[in-house]
């Protein structure tokens, strides 16, 4: 038999082998990351508990509840709205693994767009995972894509008209942070947004904090974006953060930009809604080679060059902006917002113990505040 006759069979066999191994890697992204909530946890729920039609779908995700013994307000902390912005997820995981609530209630969703964590942004060569060293070993976390997995929500419309009536590019139909306040019979992403709104209403949330990251060349960075309901809260937090050495810019949520958490949580549920942004080189456009090291260490020579040319909105030196620093900023932001809530609305105050202090995260490293793996 000539090579020409046998090669299609050999190539077909190779195709199946490649499909098997690559398929196994892709499917591994669907296994949830480990999380070990600390002793302060009072209930582990699912988002579908607030909107049952979500049960069994790729949009369902864990919700960790930390209820204090004394009465107070409820605060929602959301990470993983955009799964390629890891500081938000890791800050939420660090909170869930460390905090105890003395007064009021804290609800934490570390992987808000669970479907988005099951794939990577196409043509970006993003790593599937990154690791963080803890004293007891390395913890691995998925780096997902910005939007819902197209396997779970397809096809994208040419023009997406979101629940707020805003016209957007088709791909934004899978962006959780354009889908609020969601629709009970909408797409998977809209149903997830609807479920988060249902949680906010059912739990009487007074303050919602959505943790994000943005590219260093993007102007809304190291920022607190606030709904007008939370203007005083955001300004109070910003000033105390500045006094601690963390400069955050204040950005008002534009009323005509629909579908975003900081707009719709405030408009539809009347809560104080804020979004925190840190600077992440790994999903910026100017980066060099994408890698897990870039996600964790945040060092990139092209961003260094861009900073020298004055093209960035944050300082970027040889040390980069590591994940430790980005998570520390988020933790400092959450602490400052909780303090501001206590100042502005004492009856709705939420008192949380054991939030890792930002300077301690910077000196001891993030791993010191994550529980070791099994």
């Amino acid at each position: 038999m000539s090579i020409r006759r046998t090669s299609p069979f050999i190539l077909s066999a190779l195709t199946l082998v490649v499909c098997f191994f690559s398929g196994r890697e892709f499917l591994a992204m669907r296994a949830a990351d480990e999380i070990r909530p600390g002793p302060g946890l009072t209930a582990a729920r699912r988002l579908s508990d607030y909107f049952p039609p979500l049960k069994g779908t790729p949009g369902d995700t864990p919700v960790y509840v930390f209820q204090g013994p004394a009465a107070g307000g409820s605060v929602l902390v959301v990470g993983g709205t955009h799964p390629n912005e890891p500081a938000g997820t890791i800050a939420a995981v660090v909170l869930a693994e460390n905090i105890r609530t003395a007064k009021g209630k804290v609800l934490i969703i570390p992987w808000a767009n669970a479907s988005g964590f099951t794939h990577s942004d196409p043509q970006e060569a993003s790593p599937q995972r990154y690791e963080i060293s803890t004293p007891g070993g390395r913890r691995s976390f998925r780096l997902g894509a910005r939007v819902t997995n197209p396997v779970h929500q397809w096809p994208d419309p040419t023009i997406y008209v979101n629940p707020g009536g805003q016209k957007l590019a088709g791909i934004e139909s899978r962006n959780l942070n354009r889908a609020y306040p969601g629709k009970p019979d909408g797409s998977l992403t809209e149903r997830v947004a609807f479920a988060i709104m249902a949680l906010i209403k059912a739990e009487g949330v007074v303050l919602g904090i959505d943790l994000h990251e943005s590219a260093p060349e993007y102007p809304v960075i190291n920022a607190i974006v606030f709904h007008e309901n939370g203007a005083d809260l955001a300004a109070t937090a910003q000033m105390s953060l500045q006094a601690e050495g963390y400069d955050f810019r204040l950005e008002a949520s534009p009323p005509n930009l629909r579908g975003l958490s900081h707009r719709e949580w405030g408009d539809a549920a009347g809560i104080m809604a804020v979004l925190l942004e840190t600077a992440n080189a790994s999903h910026g456009r100017l980066k060099g080679r994408p890698s897990a090291a870039l996600v964790v260490d945040g060092q990139d020579k092209f961003y260094e060059k861009a900073a020298k040319l004055g093209r960035l909105f944050v300082p970027f030196g040889p040390a980069g902006i590591p994940l430790d620093e980005r998570v520390a900023r988020h933790l400092a932001g959450v602490s400052a917002l909780l303090e501001a809530l206590a100042e502005i609305a004492p009856a709705k105050a939420v008192s949380v113990e054991n939030i890792p202090a930002a300077p301690a995260v910077l000196t001891q490293g993030l791993g010191a505040f994550l529980r070791p793996p099994d």
Binding site: P219, V220, F226, A231, D232, A234, A235, T236, Q238, M239, S240, Q242, A243, D247, R249, L250, E251, A252, P254, P255, N256, L257
Partner: protein
């Protein structure tokens, strides 16, 4: 003898500081409450001013895009300088409209003999071509200005205030502006 001399000098210094502290209230406050807070440039820094007023116990109303008719019932106009294209867009304004609004507002305040206090709270990040244009045009109308130091690295505020004899208070951090703000209102 030497020790006594040092003590005498120290005592003198302390007396001077104490005297200075006592002398301050003798100066009549430059402004009266209630105050109307507005922005020149629609940046979110106006929210910082509202929080500073709350912390200082000053009754204030925030009207980001206040007009002349809104001045009724107020005794001081606080103008927070800082331009944001995003803020202007969200408010449905453009640069020309915003400048015209502030011009008309300052003219109305002048006709009511209402003093203007200018604030710049966003630091270095809140400087730029558009903000600078507004600083140059509107700061001379102020009776007093309070700015965060990093926003005046180039000395623009210092120069205009010196030329127009406007008292300028420079603070390191935004939070530090509470005290000069209270002092300006005699609190």
């Amino acid at each position: 003898m030497k020790k006594t001399g040092v003590l005498v000098i120290l005592a003198g210094l302390l007396a001077g500081v104490a005297a200075g502290g006592q002398a301050a209230p003798a100066v009549p406050p430059a402004f009266e409450t209630p105050l109307l807070l507005t922005s020149a440039g629609q940046s979110a820094d106006v929210s910082l001013a509202a929080t500073l007023a709350r912390r200082g116990g000053l009754p204030a109303t925030l009207a980001k895009a206040a007009e002349g008719k809104d001045l009724a019932g107020y005794k001081t106009l606080v103008l927070v300088l800082g331009a944001s294209m995003k803020g202007l867009g969200a408010a449905g304004l453009d640069t020309a409209k915003e400048k015209n609004r502030v011009r008309a507002l300052l003219a109305a305040a002048k006709s009511l003999s209402m003093p203007v206090l200018c604030l710049h709270l966003g630091g270095e990040q809140r400087r730029g071509e558009l903000t600078d244009e507004m600083i140059k045009e509107f700061l001379p109308s102020a009776r007093m200005a309070i700015v965060v130091a990093s926003g005046d690295k180039d000395g623009l505020f210092a120069r205009i205030c010196r030329e127009k004899a406007i008292p300028l208070k420079v603070v390191e951090k935004t939070l530090d502006a509470v005290e000069p703000l209270k002092a300006a209102f005699g609190k």
